[in-house]
Symmetry: C2
Amino acid sequence: MTLLNETHDPARKSWVGSANGHTQFPIQNLPFAIFREANSQTQWRGGVAIGDFILDMAKVAKLNVFDGEAQRGAQAAGETSLNTLMGLGAKTNSALRLALSNALSEGAALQGALEDCLIAQTDAEFNMPCQVTDYTDFYTSIHHATAVGSLFRPDNPLLPNYKWVPIGYHGRSSSIDVSGQSFPRPIGQTKKPDASIPDFGPCQRLDYELEMGVFIGQGTQLGERINITQAEQHIFGMCILNDWSARDIQAWEYQPLGPFLAKNFASTISPWIVTTEALAPFREAFTRPESDPQPLEYLTSEANTQAGNLDIELSCLIQTEKMRQNNQAPQQLSQSNFKHSYWTPAQLVTHHSVNGCPMTPGDLLGSGTQSGPQADEAGSLLELTQGGKQSLTLDNGETRTFLQDGDSIIMRAHCSRGGAVTIGFGEVVGTLLPARP
Amino acid sequence: MTLLNETHDPARKSWVGSANGHTQFPIQNLPFAIFREANSQTQWRGGVAIGDFILDMAKVAKLNVFDGEAQRGAQAAGETSLNTLMGLGAKTNSALRLALSNALSEGAALQGALEDCLIAQTDAEFNMPCQVTDYTDFYTSIHHATAVGSLFRPDNPLLPNYKWVPIGYHGRSSSIDVSGQSFPRPIGQTKKPDASIPDFGPCQRLDYELEMGVFIGQGTQLGERINITQAEQHIFGMCILNDWSARDIQAWEYQPLGPFLAKNFASTISPWIVTTEALAPFREAFTRPESDPQPLEYLTSEANTQAGNLDIELSCLIQTEKMRQNNQAPQQLSQSNFKHSYWTPAQLVTHHSVNGCPMTPGDLLGSGTQSGPQADEAGSLLELTQGGKQSLTLDNGETRTFLQDGDSIIMRAHCSRGGAVTIGFGEVVGTLLPARP
């Protein structure tokens, strides 16, 4: 459990003016991304968001103005991907956060030097924050699991293992890209319930999934287990994740070994990774309904029970091609909160490594679709349209059961709690293109 | 479909004497691995097996004795991992094979230069041949799928999609290591059928799976599909793969999203990758029983039908700790053949990319357990012991249902067919250690 320190102090202001007003990136946030000047061939490198700007960590590292661990962290943050920084572990990352927070504070002696390291976010483009070494997707919303289970298995929606095992499966890292990703509608096999042979063609039930992503920091060797009391030390930070899904392909292919081509054609993440330490003020107790079993001992710790959940508000919006043509803003489809998750990030990390599976800096763990308890808090169209039976009517009169070509899905996330300054994850945008011939 | 050329000529001999007698590595094979001097800190680099020796490709590249594409290939083959070589594609790899075959042939002018590039295999140690970018495991033996299905789902062993969809799921790349891997018995949740709550502790039903691995060569971009007529151009080569499995963990966790911790604690591959071109003489027709559906059009091509299957003989052996102590040789558990596979490697590659999923040089596709049609051709203990009900008695009197601590599993593979010289894949050895406290 990360303690609060001066980097979380709501009174702390930055000499970067835009960080002090209405922004997702106040000095209490300080998330990392990989960026370069837009439409340039300059080197990708790490940056830290502050107000409307990015602090160029390659430049900061060269200044050599930080001490010891913080300088070591700055050096790694300036590389072309964040894997090295992630692997340095929680202590170094904490030292770097403190150094950055101090250097960006009002009145800091380093203001003069660091002013030359700022670039406007609007002048930048983003790359994947790291090489995703392995990608695992969990299934941590019991509301999503129950709703989807009732569509795929009406007689048996929530399987007996759900309340004991943090259910997860391996995903594909090669098709993960950063916000702005567009991809053709996938093609594949599907089968109508009463047909004797499958169809082959473009997916007809293309969906999004509103998820959070957890990036592993310090890794482990094969055979090593991560105790739940240490699990958060192995989490570098979190991003927003849209795990696109082809529901008709999924229904036909997924038994007995799970989803495969229904999931691996595209997944989109937000460029910014908000660190574990920045999220400390937004923790809350991990609770279970009294009628539910308590987690097994290896998934239980005092700190996890007291403050294992994260209060992260999530929203999902759509902008159709027609809306873009008419300059209409995206329309909200649903909102939810990560605190509804049935398992905490620490539990996911501990469970993943309990068998000795090696964790690597840059591993991405998806939370699974974060649907809330209410029907309108669903994190997928599958749920919002009851399996495609009930179409949604948008404000401009268009209707949707599943996505149509040209649709963009936008996901946003932020944390705001009494006493703490609001911090944001930015957003993740992805666009569905027509199937290729 | 790769055509036969002088590199396959059974009459071709090498100036490396041990390549001409009883060997897995005649001049017709020329597989690649990553090696260095045993117990040294020298640089890992690529090598090619010839008889009892390894041709050091870093040294060969420096000699600069090959032309054009072949030299480009040699340069890549000398790197610390084979990913670059894999990505150069079939044409470059074919040019390198021809150049190596000529240079290692009896009477070759390059003999004098290349003699200095040889190191005895017994003096070498091996590393992973490449960084496994993504790992997918298929399920291509219908005999395995039926046998295992009847244990997990007695009323419904072979699901309706099996004969249409090359069933696969994503695996974990971080726990794959090269032959010689040892790993602690995994720990996890299991549940007895009549228990109301799960148990937690060391796996009691640890198993191996006898598989072949397919390494992707030239990759694709997101959205691109690999036509079945082009699929083999994207296969660099094949290795032997032991996909260790924790059956009791699997039974409890695998629904609805497939195997996870039951599979990701360890997977072991042979160091040598036998190239697609070396396998050309061992092809045979891809056939289906008349009562089975023919594959959909995207999984069908003339070349695949004529010669899509590979005749690779497989065997699996055990050496217990007691056998090692008494200097007893490993005992064979079963043998099988990759030609029983229900889907060909080309079909796996085409299916994997049909939805636009990007393929990357170094991706590994497991074939799934290669059980043959006879009960004694089963590629796992789960099958050989009928789900642990029927124990095996070894020649030294020990019995096994599942693996015991200290057991080593050895898998071997080779190709031998009338008119062609026998080529081998070497072997893959892995050892189960006791669970960590």
